[in-house]
């Protein structure tokens, strides 16, 4: 049984119809990458899984249970963490307070905290500073750190590398690889090189529809497909 | 069947907690009509038709509804309003339409002052009466030292000025005048100043409180125990619900506009009995005032040679008529109704919800020297 199974999910926002019957399955373990151009519907898909948009009709099943009607907080309590596109930092709270809210008990697991510190030293440095004063990249780090401070079953991550320096991107890639051994990651990325290095499975979304699913290896091998779906060729050479 | 005579009652009946006063006044007015017409509701064969207008306690709305009453509805006489500001705004409308406005229950002296006009009559008491009667109730002499506490606006200052004049005419001294913001709730500072000003004075020491609205300054001053300096309190009478707070000052003396047990006459007897019957409570201030206005109007209509406004004005100038407060007389110059007040002493009876302002004596209109606001005669 797959961990997350999305069947024929549609989302309307106000008068606009954004997703038209999205379906894909995320297997337990590893990194599942969702790719697509700007405005394709990636963020909307993640938000719908999280219950922040109400999908209709269709279903979202997590470990076999239909979670599509549940309240966001109940979905979160089933072990799903969310790193939103806009980072969702509480700017008025300190870094520490941001982190505390991401734990269920209000206490940190020492080893996990240590892990976060090594991954993102900046957070340690600014631990008692208001999160609103962090730099763009530091906010991004805090957002990811909140998702990994507790053990989760599934992490939904929306463009984590946006605005991060190359060294940090590398470190984050390492971290994801490590985390994905125990936790499934559903990753939305524009940085194809980053996605490719992590992904096991891939889905491509365009104009609110899934236009391709398969393994990362197969997708990476098919340059034509990439070009057609993502206009990747433009900068492909540079990434090589 | 003669044409009806239309009378507009122009009071604030919504938008403020003072609306209850308007209701009392209108109830009193209707009872007054009933009494004066012996239940027929007709004068000289004309049925009386009442028109009710709500000023919403807004002067601009009030002007519009009064103009409407005179202009569109054809009211011959209007009665109102409740607050002085609203009523002040009504005065020019009466002049514009050349119809009579009977002021009741608004209090301010200025309503018969120089901004007023010959179409305005006033049956309600004015602040000068309150203050002078209050001064007389203290039986002032050289041995009396008074500190005053009032709200800091025209009503408070004018009232204290009138009170002071009356006191000082008899040789008593006002040692300090304290004014606090209109919506003040804490009187500690003012009280402390009054204590300091009074405590070392020889003779009788009194704090006079002149206050409109809530806040219960008397209770607050009392809580600071003026008695330890030999200081008494004095304050004017009030409506029944407020009299409940007077239970803490048995024996206190002052003056009150109306208390149902204070007057002994046929009109009042009827009013108290009917009011008890219908509302199972005694009439209050504004009920009596409303009734007085109705009685004045009916008498004027009966005695006037015609229903022309000018004839009515001539009839009413100098007219004397019976009210629950005894006789009243419209002073020809400014159309203020001169009237008596009650000098009371507080008695506490646990069976009664409020403290009883027991009559000491009636202060007759002739004892007070109410300034003439304007002269309508020239």
């Amino acid at each position: 049984m797959s961990l997350l199974s999305i069947k024929d999910m549609s989302v309307d926002i106000g008068q606009y119809s954004i997703l038209h019957g999205v379906s894909f399955e995320v297997q337990e373990g590893g990194v599942f990458v969702l790719l697509g151009r700007n405005g394709a519907g990636k963020t909307t898909t993640l938000r719908a899984v999280m219950g922040l948009w109400k999908p209709s009709p269709g279903s979202v099943r997590f470990r076999g249970e239909d979670i599509s009607g549940l309240h966001t907080s109940d979905i979160a309590r089933r072990g799903i963490a969310f790193v939103p596109e806009n980072m969702g930092i509480f700017g008025g709270l300190t870094v520490a307070e941001n982190m505390v809210l991401a734990t269920a008990s209000g206490k940190f697991d020492a080893s996990r905290l240590e892990r976060v510190y090594t991954l993102f030293p900046a957070l340690k440095k600014f631990w008692d500073k208001p999160a609103g004063a962090l730099s763009g990249g530091q906010k991004q780090m805090l957002s990811v750190a909140r998702a990994i401070i507790e053990p989760r079953a599934l992490i939904l991550i929306d463009e984590p590398t946006k605005g991060l320096a190359p060294a940090i991107v590398d470190a984050m890639g390492e971290a994801f690889r490590e985390i994905s051994a125990s936790t499934t990651i559903l990753l939305v990325e524009q940085n194809y090189a980053f996605a490719r290095s992590l992904g096991r499975d891939v889905a491509v979304i365009d104009d609110g529809r899934i236009v391709h699913t398969g393994t990362m290896a197969a997708f990476d091998a098919d340059k034509d497909l990439q070009d057609r779906l993502l206009s990747l060729s433009a900068f492909q050479e540079d990434h090589e | 069947q003669e044409d009806p005579i239309k009378i507009a009652l122009v009071h604030g009946t919504s938008g403020s907690s003072f609306a209850v006063y308007s209701q009392q006044s209108e109830t009193g007015f209707q009872l007054g009509l009933e009494y004066a017409t012996k239940g027929t509701m007709k004068v000289k064969g004309h049925p009386i038709e009442l028109i009710f207008k709500d000023t919403q306690f807004k002067p601009d709305v009030a002007r519009a509804v009064l103009a409407e009453a005179y202009g569109d509805d054809g009211a011959l006489i209007a009665v109102g309003g409740t607050s002085s500001g609203v009523t002040l705004g009504l005065l020019p409308i009466a002049e514009e339409y050349e119809r009579i406005l009977m002021v009741e229950p608004a209090v301010a002296d200025s309503l018969t002052g120089k901004d007023s006009n010959r179409y305005v009559f006033k049956t309600s008491r004015n602040s000068s009466m309150d203050s002078q009667a209050q001064a007389l109730a203290l039986s002032p002499d050289e041995n009396l030292y008074v500190a005053t506490l009032a709200q800091d606006y025209a009503f408070g200052r004018d009232g204290i000025a009138a009170f002071k004049t009356a006191l000082e005419a008899k040789g008593a001294k006002v040692v300090t005048e304290e004014y606090v913001p209109q919506d003040a709730t804490d009187f500690t500072a003012a009280t402390e100043r009054m204590f300091n000003a009074l405590k070392d004075k020889p003779g009788r020491k009194v704090i006079y409180i002149y206050f409109a609205g809530g806040g219960d300054p008397m209770g607050k001053v009392l809580a600071m125990e003026p008695a330890r300096f030999g200081i008494e309190l004095s304050t004017g009478g009030n409506i029944l619900p407020a009299l409940a707070t007077y239970k803490r000052v048995p024996g206190m003396e002052g003056a009150i506009y109306y208390y149902y047990e204070g007057y002994d006459n046929a009109v009042n007897a009827w009013l108290v009995e009917e009011h008890m019957k219908r509302f199972s409570s005694p009439p209050d201030f504004f009920t009596a005032g409303g009734m007085a206005a109705a009685l004045a109007i009916v008498k004027a209509l009966e005695e006037s040679p015609s229903l022309e406004t000018d004839d009515l004005i001539k009839t009413m100038e100098g007219m004397t008529w019976d009210t629950p407060k005894g006789e009243m007389t419209f002073r020809p110059e400014d159309h203020q109704a001169l009237q008596s007040m009650i000098h009371f002493k507080i008695k506490v009876d646990d069976a009664v919800e409020w403290a009883i302002p027991e009559k000491v004596r009636i202060i007759e209109a002739s004892e007070m020297d109410i300034p003439v606001g304007r002269n309508n005669q020239n």
Partner: protein, 327 residues
């Protein structure tokens, strides 16, 4: 220099500074004592009424003009309860008197809880994060609530009976200290401590502030923001009710306008205290209480505008209020 002051408690010394200056200016120790105690207790009573607003305004960023209606309701509910139990108050038994008082305050609090719940569900919920609509819709609610009060209790002033053990004053030398004021100080301090512990020893304060900033994210972290908000709102309204009840006991003659009359002062206190901090609100309330009394004694002419001037001065000095929550 300023760092030293800040470490030593900073602005929280302001009331002491005020009191010292006043002592010199007043010159009469007994008057000073009377005024200071009166000011303190006035401050704590204002704090009781302001704390609910501060909680809702500071933490949830909801500007609730309807707050004054809860204060009025609290006053009338407790006054009616006391009136209904007036037999107990005159029975001469201290137990019965305390019980009557407890029931009256309890009734006001219970009413606040219930009304707060309904108010949040019906009125405030649709307008979170929209100040303007909050101002408007709560003003609409205020009109309705005022009318309901008028319809229920009529417009006549209502006398509030007081248990006899709260009457009178303690006389020290030439100064007198009302017993009721001491009682108000006690209640104010207890409420302050309770709030302080709740907000600083639990994650509640954090969650609320985070929820205001980004509600979706708090939910995505697994918390029910809607339930939390309704709880806070109920608490705020209950505090308003309690404040109103205490105020009624102080006023002894109350009218339905009571809430509206203190609304402005309550707003001033919350603002000069600084948003989002209960400490700030307490500080603001005490400063306002003391200022009122000192100015009223020293320069009665100024007392009319003293609060406004105080607020403007403080805002010009510290645009975010005296002790805002760390942002």
């Amino acid at each position: 220099m300023s760092a030293v002051v800040a470490r030593a408690g900073g602005v929280f010394w302001l009331p002491v500074v005020l009191a010292v200056i006043a002592f010199v200016l007043i010159g009469v120790p007994s008057s000073w004592l009377t005024l200071t105690v009166a000011g303190l207790s006035m401050g704590l009573m204002i704090f009781l009424m302001a704390s609910g607003l501060s909680l809702v305004f500071g933490l949830m960023d909801v500007l609730n003009f309807g707050h004054s209606a809860f204060v009025s309701f609290g006053a009338f509910v407790s006054a009616s309860t006391l009136a209904a139990l007036s037999g107990w108050l005159t029975s001469g038994s201290l137990t019965l008197e305390v019980l009557a008082l407890a029931l009256a305050l309890g009734a006001a609090v219970a009413f606040g809880l219930g009304a707060g719940w309904a108010f949040e569900r019906v009125i405030v919920k649709p307008v979170y994060a929209d100040h303007l609509r909050q101002i408007l819709i709560t003003m609409g609610a205020l009109i309705v609530a005022d009318e309901v009060i008028l319809a229920t209790w009529g417009g006549v002033p209502l006398a509030v009976p007081r248990p006899s053990f709260l009457e009178g004053a303690v006389i020290i030398g030439d100064s007198s200290i009302e017993v009721y004021r001491l009682f108000a100080v006690a209640v104010g301090v207890v409420v302050y401590l309770g709030l302080y512990l709740m907000l600083n020893r639990t994650r509640m304060g954090l969650l609320i502030r985070a929820g205001v900033e980004n509600r979706e994210m708090v939910e995505a972290l697994g918390f029910r923001v809607d339930r939390l908000f309704v709880l806070v709102f109920m608490l705020g309204s209950a505090l308003a009710g309690l404040g109103g009840a205490m105020w009624a006991g102080y006023q002894t003659l109350i009218t339905p306008d009571l809430g509206a009359e203190i609304l402005v002062i309550v707003f001033i206190v919350v603002i000069i205290g600084g948003l989002g901090s209960i400490q700030g609100t307490l500080l603001g309330a005490i400063i306002v209480g003391l200022m009122q009394n000192y100015v009223g004694f020293l320069a009665p002419k100024l007392s009319l505008a003293s609060n406004m001037i105080l607020m403007m001065a403080i805002l010009l000095w510290r645009p975010n209020g005296l002790a805002p929550a760390a942002k």
